[in-house]
Assembly symmetry: C2
Homo-oligomer: 430 residues x 2
């Protein structure tokens, strides 16, 4: 008797949790991902801002799953899903032809990417932050900017060069703006001879009335004040209407404005993986505005109990509230989907997904953060220490935890950032 074949698309928090939960099950698991690594995305902004080296927050997927004899990991881009035939189509390169991976159960955990709200021409000038490629691109741009400023002689050209505009007051935008301000104020002063790094301007543009809008209003206010104490200029109700190589056009209730800058970072929009669209076409599943797939309470698709969708690609309610697109939710969905697949194989009833909210936090800078855990809300130094330990604790792999702790301890004492390296080739590509 052949064992049930389970294919998991994506090895982010959701997909990896599902794969691990199937460790001892009498099934054959295939994990497909288009990168070779699981990424600890909550710390990606640290790679982008030269605080951590990439290997500290990324682990090879096949290494994480090496002791699961029932699991095969393939580096592959999914190019199609043949729902009637129950096969996933993966790309081929060179001697590797396109391949069809048959499944009895499919778990789709393909995540999300950033969205420019239909203005994809902005991408070139305002890189977003979702992958390690993105993080390196942003790091190179930030480091090259300061190097460029040391070469410039015209003060007004230098001022525009040293103006960073971060678009979007969500967690990524807040982390990036706070960290950039810290770098300008604490890391770089003393290293340049032709300008003062403290003259760097960091602007955070948020289209709505407050930053970190997913949090209660008083925490949003606290976050804004903490950002401003770092020197970040926070502009609320500021909608971006154009981005080009030389600046950003902003519309506010007070009127329109042009902000000259060559350094824009995009933290505004998120949209689901295009696999959502593909599933909608082939199964009739419903998508929300961000392209996420509406799933049944057990995380499967209507009429297709053999397909589950989890993580940032899924839209579902739990306890009357919509489940947030954060790592703990994705993990919990992974466990639930794996359990339901096993229940179906065993002919047992499936269980609905129930999201357990352990709270959430956002970091702003050294000694600055906000946190919410049930009824408890707090901001500042205690939230920051909590954030720090939680993030180190959940990092994959013992070595990575130690490496990150050492890096952070060194950063804490010296205000330095050790990953301030960019490649000659990347400089040329800019």
């Amino acid at each position: 008797m052949t064992r049930p074949r389970i294919v998991i698309i994506g090895a982010g928090f959701g997909g990896l949790a599902a794969a691990k939960a199937l460790k001892d099950a009498p099934v054959d698991v295939t994990v497909l991902d288009r990168t070779n690594h699981h990424l600890f995305q909550p710390l990606l902004y640290q790679v982008a801002t030269a605080g951590l080296a990439a290997p500290s927050i990324a682990a090879p997927i096949r290494h994480v799953l090496r002791r699961q004899a029932n699991t095969t990991v393939l580096l592959a881009e999914v190019v199609g899903i043949d729902v009637p035939a129950r096969e996933v189509l993966i790309d081929g390169e060179g001697e590797t032809g396109r391949e069809r991976i048959p499944y009895d159960h499919l778990i789709v955990a393909a995540g999300a990417t950033h969205s420019y709200f239909g203005r994809d021409d902005w991408a070139e000038h305002a890189p977003g932050l979702k992958t390690l490629d993105d993080a390196y691109a942003i790091r190179n741009r930030i480091l090259a900017t300061f190097e460029q400023a040391e070469r410039l002689t015209d003060p007004s050209a230098r001022a525009a060069c040293l103006r960073f505009v971060v678009i979007g007051g969500g967690p990524t935008g807040v982390e990036m703006a706070g960290t950039l301000a810290e770098i300008a104020r604490h890391t770089l002063p003393g290293e340049f001879r032709r300008f003062d790094a403290r003259s760097t301007e960091v602007l955070l543009l948020e289209g709505g009335p407050r930053v970190l809008a997913a949090y209660p209003e008083d925490l949003s206010d606290s976050a804004r004040r903490q950002l401003e104490s770092l020197g970040v200029q926070v502009r609320l109700n500021a909608r971006v209407t154009a981005i080009d190589a030389r600046g950003v056009d902003v519309s506010t209730p007070a009127g329109s404005e042009r902000i000259g800058t060559g350094n824009v970072i995009w933290g505004a929009g998120v949209k689901a993986s295009p696999l959502g669209q593909l599933l909608a076409q082939s199964t009739g599943a419903t998508l929300d505005r961000a392209g996420r797939v509406q799933v049944l309470p057990d995380l499967s698709l209507p009429l297709h109990p053999e397909i589950s969708v989890i993580g940032d690609l899924a839209v579902i309610e739990s306890g009357g509230k919509s489940v947030p697109g954060i790592a703990p939710a994705a993990k919990q969905m992974g466990w639930c989907a794996a359990a339901n697949v096993q229940a179906r194989i065993a002919g047992q009833p499936v269980r609905p997904f129930v999201y357990k909210d352990y709270g959430s936090m956002a970091t702003i800078g050294r000694h600055r953060a906000i946190a919410q855990m049930g009824r408890f809300k707090f901001g500042g130094i205690f939230a920051w220490w909590l954030w720090l330990f939680a993030h180190v604790f959940f990092l994959i792999g013992f070595r990575n935890r130690i490496a990150v702790m050492i890096d952070w301890a060194a950063q804490y004492w010296t205000m330095q950032r050790h990953a301030r390296i960019f490649l000659a080739g990347d400089r040329k590509r800019q």
Copy 2:
């Protein structure tokens, strides 16, 4: 009175040593480099083989020199040297125009790059290892190869895929071949489901009669035996006559052979920076066959006492022997050139460069190395521990030393390599 202006081209071991030696001198120093980092090149092969993260062996030049108030660091590519006007021309990008940097004294420490002996078309198929860009390119290729092998179904295609050919039995070739064999035997087994990583073949091709030819013959023999004990196939007197995307043509005393492989690493030839050519044209200096500049005993150029050439770009004898192109020699030249520049400014006599040989070592793999110190020669585990401590000791920056020690301790116990990450974008670019 304006202070004498000293320009240093290149912040490798030689240029950085010269800059540091001028810390307290009443001069204005400008350091030009085309990357933002000083690279600890002896450990570059560890980045290429996923053992270390790039920031562990690279430090921002301006950070290293931040406390030297008399020193300006510029990220710039040197495009010309106007010897009569005493100015260095650097490139411009965007709003930064081309700039002329005037000097009273010039120290050229532009180093070397790899050479394909006039066959630059081989570069595409056989990447060399001189920069961080190179190291990432090789790392991506190695990791992608094993991922590719897990996708292949045809056994003969997989065998060619899993054959690595390293060309050149010098230190780089020996380190790369030894490490690749270790990865195949100790790091990866157990992580793949469709093949056994131990079936990986590693061939080291050397055109001459022995590996590490700069060492005494018995140490060369020891190195070859240590390589073979790791599973490397060492082929001596094997001259490469062609390289293409599918393999390598080799000519040996026994006849010609075609070796099928898609993985070739180049460790064979080195040639001096093109700045050597430029200096020869404008000063009449003599070049050797590798393009290195013949310098006077005090490291300056004939008829041009205001220009010194040091490091891998210089050719000079000391004690009747030619000074080797290794880090300690470059550092010593940097100190000597800085002292001579100061002597000239003070109107004092310059001193000739004397190379102090502290010995040399080459590593092959875990517990495997050779070392020579004066009359003492040894190979094996003791040489390896010595190599390890010497390299950690000389690494720039306290943090890097700790990070490298932790990585190596983790590698030592677990046989794992933590930097096994490659980017989705790099995969596409291949």
